[in-house]
Symmetry: D3
Subunit: 246 residues, 6 copies
């Protein structure tokens, strides 16, 4: 199968990190196509960044479909554009936040999230509510590191993430930790070893869920509210989207 | 005060409808600036349309701020880009869905929503959940009319909306009806008269809530998760957003 | 418009405080009629006080209607008698707790309440649940000051409220604070300045919401469960209510 | 033990009905003191009626305490004044709505409520939410009979209640029915026989719960938010309450 | 009436403790039949222990029915086998966790649970959710003592339980404490005295609730999802259950 | 990997059906070990059947571990013994109900369940609540066919299931259907084709989720409340479990 892993920000280094993690975990017959939008923010740390990035995500889903993708992964922990992406494709689309939450509930009764910046905690909270996992998550914690520090100052970032994970382990009454940023995809093993309880990372979780859905022959439902959008005109810089959404 | 009413779709006729409704209800000293994005879909009837429209909404918020807006209204019932918009301005930002929901709970214990297309019901449901009004809404109903039919085939659309509102009144055990589309802003009185119970419309509700917040001296909190986004680089067609989000 | 602001306790000094705050914030064409019951407790600090005060609130709503009130405000943070009041009038009725909660959710994603006595926290919790804002409120805090100390020992009370608000700001992960007592209506600005994030106060919020509803032409629904009560006999000291509730 | 069963309305006939039901079910050593307020509505069919009746309930709780009551029952399905009543006494206080809900969950997984008037359904819904039983109740149904018809036109009322209970049994997927009015206390057996599944009635349920609590030596907690109200002045027709609430 | 009190573990000493507590609290005409399974774990401290113990509970319910039991109590705080037990008998079946929760909500607005081992907290949480009491419980606490220490090292256990109860009283904002283990049944009075607020214990609570239901003539509903299981074949060591479940 | 698929009932024919479905969907390098308990009911259609079957499930998990299983699937839609099974193994354990629910939320916003007997709907409801999917499921429907009819009268059963699925599709406003019985595992394709929207079946979903978890290197958390049970004595017919639960 062909798996289109989309890094919603425009930082190629993070795409590489994500792609490497995806490829390490993918099945032998899964071809990982890693990409990032041509247009958008270099990192995603707010609702604003997310809203802009969603446009690029949707374009990359369309690109992926044209290149024969069997499934798509949105590799930013806010799952930007997830439901919109599901509307425009028959393929399954998996967000890494939802992927991590689902997997965490299968191996523990309660988990905590450790994310980058405290201000993005509200995004995780809203997703937990929408997905149904509000009560499975004990706490959303932040290491208070900007996303790109994961690229630029990896050792210091790792240290702070491990510290926060240990606090989660010791204080939250949990069985597992969810890493709250796609940029942490290459740190999972080190963190898990340092913390000593299962650490669920979204990129890798999403890859396996996408493989699972494709294996089941399940694609996004085109019956009801995720059907293709009604074709219509778009104007201005989005004119190329006109009439194409079927 | 200067009130920036943003029609998130690009159909000028609908902007005019919305602006007229906003001006009719606005206080004498409220100057209504009505606008729509230069870029985006002609109507919003899906998550996809919403995601694209959010970019235009954010640009119009920024434009409005430059023109001295004291508050902003997002005049599409899905409240596209609401939290992102709140991040980028000190002014209050009100979505018309939230506005209508809030007002409906102040005059009734339970309400129903009558929207355009059934497929957008899920958007209303997610908003009801996030805002806390899940249990105040008995049912999300659809008249099954495309949004632009409100402009192009107004009489037939009105007739179907009234029929659905009457069913809501007779079957749902409610005290009020919420109209689920900004394009219905000029129909409120006719519908209310035909149906015989309070009908809450979002554009007008949002105008009065925006006036209320400005009157109270309350703007969007810049403490915590709605603080200005961290400045950063944007690339490609969004390059103009670089470093500007403070 | 004529706005009937009801202080549910019988302390005239607090009525004056509330009325002054209401008048400062009211639109030029809003005539604020401030009143308090002739019968009831001098302050409201328990379910018991609230239950007794509700009778006076209902009488003042009826009085207000006779004097041509276009809307009513119940200016005690427990919103005593709110749904009963809505039944007996066509005018909108706004409680100051609900008003503050609604406004707080429009400018922040999460808020905390700072009220007078810890024992009344349960009243706020029940209201948050009923109104739908349980998850928008991080914490209900108390400054542990009796209500009338706000009148009698204002400076000490203010100091303690500010301290508790600062703790809320620093510990709760919030964007706004809701003041949990009508008697704090004159302290809002001082508190907001001292604390440095938006402070929402219920009396002023309710005045603007009442103006908004009247501006929209929306009154309490008389369809369904807030219709006028069935007329009936009352006996004893409530005999004067017989047959009058239509 | 001495059990103070309070009919919150002022109709003596209904007090007699309630008292008879209570006495039939009470343990041999339970002395049932039945009473109704001297002041208030002849029936309770709205939030307004409920608010007025709460005053009388509180006075009857105080009277009962003076006469040595070991527990109190509030025999109106809206549980008027329940938390206020708990504040002013060390004895347990049981509302008949809560009593019926609790008992119904012990013998079935899901129940429906059959009450008198549709307009009071919202009162039951709010209680279900506050008590935690929202999801245990499939539906709140109304036979659409005024409360006093239970006294004045008993046969017709019984017929309509049985019809509605049968609909509940056949359509709601339930295991038990809760009768939603204290005035139905003498009809339980007939209804249960006609409907063929367990029928839970609140007055009788409350009597047994009160006996259970007294048997356990458990009274209303005086630690925290149900502690006695702070003593204070009351004015006007409630002056006799001054300083007495400890 | 004959009340079948089942200790789900196989430790006779704990059965004796439970039986003594049940007999002390039971009405004079209640005959307490105390029993424990012939097969199963000596204590219940995990989901695993609970699953095995449920088989014994179901056999003891059947035994109890054969000996004329009018009601059954499952005296382990996880309520093992509760719904299954309700299916196989017409008599009421009460779990001690649910019994304690119900009673605690009748005398306080919020309570905390103090149980034995932290790892069983999740069992209490799931029950609170299923029964509807999630928001009535502030916190599930553990004294971190193995269950059988209650038998073998009673004084040390009591000391630690009291310490944890005091922390609950001082930190949780509660009005009552629920003891989270059947083996604490004989400690209630001492704990309540040491802690100074109402302490609700499940065995005694369940005895009184069972008496209440029997007094009301209410048994487990045989309409709908608690009807007797369809008779069928069982094989292997459960062959004796074949065809008997009506 | 070695995948231990446990049919919790003792009907070998159903094990074969389940095993065949599992093998068809499993990855080439997944070795499916299919088994059923030696002791227990021939079908599971009640809480009682489920409680008995859980013992056999736990024994088969232990057997599977001894034979080198990398993961376990519990192939009955009530997920009997799921948390207990997780306690006794380091391997992942997946229930087919949870598996189907998780997968359905990844391809649709709302789904309905079509199960065998109406009486088991409550089991699905409780699982939906515990797992967090209450609001993602519009309705739990039953075809009203006994489980073994799936084996013995397959064509008639299939016809009724398809009819109910079509009603779900047409009335429930859903995007996908979840099949509510392990015995339907071989019918998925036929049903999906006849109904025309995605049909999620639990056995196949669980196989892919198990493979996904193993691929991720994630096992059941042994930190916290799913740690191995404390070793202890078991008596009677469960004596062989003594001291073995580490």
């Amino acid at each position: 199968m062909r798996l289109n892993v989309i890094n919603p920000n425009t930082t190629r280094g993070m795409t590489d990190t994500i792609a490497a993690a995806a490829r390490r975990i993918a099945a032998p017959d899964t071809h990982v196509m890693a990409t990032q939008p041509a247009h958008g923010p270099v990192s995603i740390e707010s609702h604003f960044d997310e809203a802009i990035s969603a446009v690029g995500v949707l374009e990359e889903v369309a690109n992926g479909d044209r290149e024969g993708a069997d499934a798509h992964v949105i590799a930013c922990f806010g799952d930007p554009g997830l439901l919109a992406a599901r509307e425009v494709t028959r393929a399954p689309v998996i967000g890494i936040a939802e992927a991590a939450f689902h997997m965490a509930t299968l191996i523990s009764t309660r988990f905590s999230v450790v994310t980058t910046l405290g201000r993005t905690g509200i995004i995780a909270e809203h997703l937990l509510e929408q997905y149904g996992f509000r009560h499975h998550c004990r706490r959303v914690r932040a290491a208070e590191i900007p996303v790109l520090d994961l690229e630029d100052d990896g050792d210091a970032a790792l240290k702070r993430i491990i510290e926060e994970c240990r606090r989660a382990r010791d204080e939250d009454g949990i069985g597992a930790i969810v890493l709250g940023c796609g940029g942490m995809a290459d740190l999972t093993d080190e963190i898990a070893e340092a913390v000593g309880l299962p650490v669920v990372e979204g990129v890798t979780a999403a890859v396996k869920l996408a493989e699972a859905l494709v294996g089941l022959g399940l694609g996004t439902s085109k019956h009801g509210d995720l059907a293709f959008p009604r074709p219509k005109a778009f104007v201005g810089r989005f004119e190329h989207l006109s009439g194409t959404t079927k």
